[in-house]
């Protein structure tokens, strides 16, 4: 009984381990063709390429687990990017000041989303399309054309490594992973899963649906803002349109990581691995000499395979369950 429970759990949580294995496998192929990938410089490089997508999809995962949609992420990232590019310079707020400003904006947008969905019962897909468009408009207002300048300490401090052994990006991602590890064990974390799995049952179990949904959107807003901050550090400049392509990739990372888009199942670790897959895939194909315009075809195929695997895992869980029942 105990062992089968464990097997079932491992299979049910099939997304994250599977995606991690695939990600590492791709990285190994990449490293065979490009040995520099194993140096601290190479690893830092890949992590820097992945981190914006990774943190953005962490935020999205929280909302998706609660059973809602959130498209506003790219809007928040755009605002954060142009704000950092316009305020972090020598005459502005500096690195910490602009981070605080950006996080405040993320929290504000998340709160607006949460209020629209949790209190006014708007459909989250529609409501967050609204906030996304509005946010992109605000970003254009702040910085009508690409430009601005990101403070040097942000650009170099967040993209380098510590003492030549530890990429800063890895520290940041590790911090997010650890925070999630703790958060999903709080009552609020459990409430987010419960709300996404069966809102009516969660409500009858005494869970405050409004507060749970509101908090999910607020946390997501904070993550998007930080993702925007990291984007600024990577690019060193502001561009109000740079993030548009990220939206679908964030959803792809979440789906590849095994989180159910209808809520209640999955988690942040899977999404981190999903973001890793999408980034490493590009590197691997490039190293294998596949022309860049084929990359999206493979991205799409990987995503579909991940979804098929998710189905397969639940089928296996079902057959194990039937055997237990016998």
């Amino acid at each position: 009984m105990k062992i089968t429970v464990k097997i079932r759990r491992a299979l049910a949580g099939g997304g994250a381990p599977f995606a991690t294995v695939v990600c590492l496998l791709m990285y190994a192929i990449y490293a065979v063709r490009a040995p520099s990938a194993l140096s601290i410089f190479g690893i830092t490089n890949v992590l820097n390429d992945a981190i914006v997508l990774a943190i953005g999809s962490v935020g999205l995962t929280v909302v998706v687990l609660a059973g809602e949609f959130d498209l506003s992420g790219v809007g928040v990232i755009a605002i954060a990017n142009v704000l950092v590019a316009t305020t972090s310079g020598a005459t502005g707020l500096g690195a910490v000041g602009s981070l605080a400003l950006v996080l405040a904006i993320g929290l504000l947008v998340g709160t607006i989303n949460g209020v629209l969905v949790a209190l006014f019962h708007l459909q989250s897909l529609a409501a967050t399309i609204g906030t996304m468009i509005a946010c992109e408009g605000v970003a254009l207002l702040i910085l009508p054309a690409p430009g601005g300048e990101v403070a040097d300490n942000i650009a170099t401090g967040l993209t380098g490594d510590v003492a030549g052994v530890m990429p800063v990006a890895l520290l940041i991602l590790g911090g997010f992973a650890a925070a999630w590890f703790l958060f999903k064990r709080t009552s609020l974390g459990v409430a987010i899963y419960a709300t996404g799995a069966d809102a009516q049952a969660a409500r009858l179990s005494g869970i405050n649906l409004r507060r749970t949904r509101l908090v999910a959107f607020m946390l997501a807003g904070l993550c998007y803002a930080f993702a925007g901050y990291m984007l600024s550090a990577e690019t060193g400049t502001g561009d109000p349109r740079v993030s548009s392509a990220l939206l679908l990739f964030m959803y792809a990372a979440v789906a590849i990581g095994g989180t159910s888009l209808s809520g209640g199942k999955g988690g942040v670790f899977g999404s981190l691995a999903g973001a890793g897959i999408l980034t490493v895939l590009q590197k691997m194909l490039f190293a294998l000499g596949v022309a860049e315009f084929y990359t999206n075809i493979f991205n799409g195929i990987v995503m579909i395979c991940a979804l098929l695997f998710g189905n397969l895992a639940s089928l296996l869980v079902g057959s194990v369950r039937r055997q237990v029942a016998k």
Binding site: T186, S187, A191, A194, A197, A201, A202, L204, S205, I207
Partner: protein, 516 residues
């Protein structure tokens, strides 16, 4: 000496949903350490009352007191803090969480920003499960992987473990095989001073454990009395609002000679095996059976919703293969489905649009839908189902259950059905609408239509049918001819007994209404 303060007092509670009155002017009191039964047909307002008492639904009017203190819960946690715990009929467990976490929702990690310590939580849960005599349930198992009966036990344990002052049990035995377990727990809770409101439509359970019972009908309290002072017939007639025998249209059989309207041979599909039946024109053929004996599969197979594994269906002498309800409809065979809200109506459409849907393709001029033609077609049909014209423009969801069902029947008839498959058409329908449906069935048969009629209300089968087939364990267990139709006879066959005498002793007192 003043009388003791009641554990719960409810005064003049009212609640309506759109045009539907769910509760109206309901008042009663519950004393400390008492079990009170709450009875009523489906749609009588029992579940709404439970939701009002649990803080899930706010009443439109009325007041409540618990132990003398004003009680107006805004949510389920308010209710819990006042000592009210509920085991819901639809079960309120989250399927993707473990048993242990479910038991301690909404705060499995305790107050504040603590972390869920899984091992300790499961130990604690195992202790609770032990105390309530269900130590065989693994606290780490996911609820979604457990059977319905086990889930119902967990639901009950979760309500009881809070040691409430008032315990609400809404149909707690619907999936439970071992009722004695529950009854033992209830008497233990009573000893601890808990008051219990026990919602059920099973009269033997009410007699077994309740001192008193309250009967609701169409949202109103119609009876409040000691159980011992009432006969079964009195309780049933107050639930149904009429005495059991009258109020059915009296008519002679309209059965016409061959060829039959519908003839089924060797029909086998998922959940139903080897069914033979012939349905003559003008005949109302009843189908009876306890819940889950295959009746639903039979109706679905005949309507083209389930593929046949074996067997044949002939309509008016012609061999037919129904790939879909659409092909069945084309042959004149129309199903009025079991679950009206989910399968019968289009929630966001008007009543008119719901009715006209099967013929909307014919209501056009120059390929554009002509609203006047549509309206005329619908107006032809609604007098037959006795649906008032003023409901046509309303959203169908705003209609009462009875009027919704009339609209569903009108939709079935509008395309010229020759054979109606009615699956429990009077469920959740008020008495007046029931009468309309009975008259409609009678008229439809007299005009040469054929009806296959499943009902959970045995008296309907007895009084309306020309013959009745009884299903038991996915097969036709027997047929009762019109002259011999009686509830006892049907029940005997439905519960697998072939000897009517024995069955009468064992089952009649227990289940005059077949389990839903």
């Amino acid at each position: 000496m003043s009388p003791p303060v009641p554990a719960l007092e409810v005064r003049a509670i009212g609640k309506r949903y759109g045009a539907t009155v769910a509760l109206e002017d309901v008042s009663f009191a519950l004393h400390a350490g008492e079990v009170c039964g709450l009875l009523g047909e489906n749609g009588a307002g029992k579940s709404t009352l439970v939701k009002v008492l649990s803080g899930v639904v706010a009443p439109d009017s009325g007041e409540m007191w618990i132990g003398g203190a004003v009680y107006s819960p805004r949510n389920i946690n308010d209710a819990r803090s006042m000592g009210v715990a509920t085991a819901f009929q639809e079960l309120s467990l989250v399927p993707t969480l473990s048993v242990a976490v479910n038991l301690f929702l909404p705060r499995p990690a305790g107050r504040g920003f603590g972390l869920v310590r899984l091992r300790r939580l499961e130990q604690e849960a195992a202790r609770v499960l032990q105390v309530y005599g269900v130590a065989d349930i693994h606290p780490g198992a996911l609820v979604g992987e457990l059977s319905l009966g086990v889930r119902q036990r967990i639901e009950i344990v979760r309500a009881m473990m809070r040691a409430p002052r008032l315990l609400l049990l809404d149909e707690p035995t619907s999936a439970l095989s071992d009722r004695e377990w529950l009854f033992a727990l209830i008497s233990r809770a009573l000893d601890a001073g808990t008051s219990v409101l026990y919602i059920s439509h099973k009269l033997d359970e009410i007699r077994r454990i309740c001192h008193r019972c309250v009967v609701l009908r169409n949202g109103r309290k119609v009876l409040d009395s000691s159980v011992a002072a009432l006969s079964d017939a009195e309780i049933f007639s107050s639930m149904a609002g009429r005495s059991l025998v009258e109020a059915f249209p009296v008519a002679s059989s309209a059965v016409q000679p061959a060829p039959p309207a519908l003839s089924v041979k060797n029909l086998t599909a998922e959940g139903i095996e080897d069914v033979h039946l012939t349905l003559a024109r003008g005949e109302i053929l009843g189908v009876a059976g306890l819940e889950g004996q295959g009746q639903s599969s039979l109706f679905k197979a005949l309507a083209g919703l389930l593929p046949l594994r074996h067997g044949s269906i002939e309509v008016a002498g012609r061999r037919e293969i129904f790939h879909s309800p659409r092909t069945a409809r084309r042959a004149g065979v129309v199903l009025v489905p079991e679950d009206r809200k989910e399968e019968g109506i289009f929630k966001d459409l008007s009543t008119l649009a719901n009715i006209s849907l099967p013929v909307i393709g014919q209501c056009h001029r120059l390929r554009f839908i002509d609203r006047r033609v549509e309206r005329a077609r619908v107006e032809q049909i609604i007098p037959i189902v006795e649906l008032a014209e003023r409901y046509l423009p309303l959203n169908i969801e705003a209609l009462s259950g009875g009027n919704q069902q009339k609209a569903v029947l009108a939709q079935a008839l509008i395309a010229g059905a020759r054979c109606l498959l009615l699956f429990d058409p009077t469920r959740g329908v008020d008495v007046g609408a029931k009468q309309s449906i009975y008259r409609l069935m009678r008229r439809f048969a007299e005009e040469g239509g054929a009806i296959l009629f499943y009902s959970t209300e045995l008296d309907e089968l007895v009084h309306l049918c020309d013959r009745c087939l009884v299903i038991y364990r996915n097969r036709i267990a027997g047929e009762v001819p019109r002259a011999a139709l009686s509830q006892e006879r049907i029940l005997a066959l439905a519960s697998g007994h072939s000897l009517p005498q024995r069955a009468e002793e064992e089952h009649f007192a227990e289940k005059p209404v077949v389990a839903r």
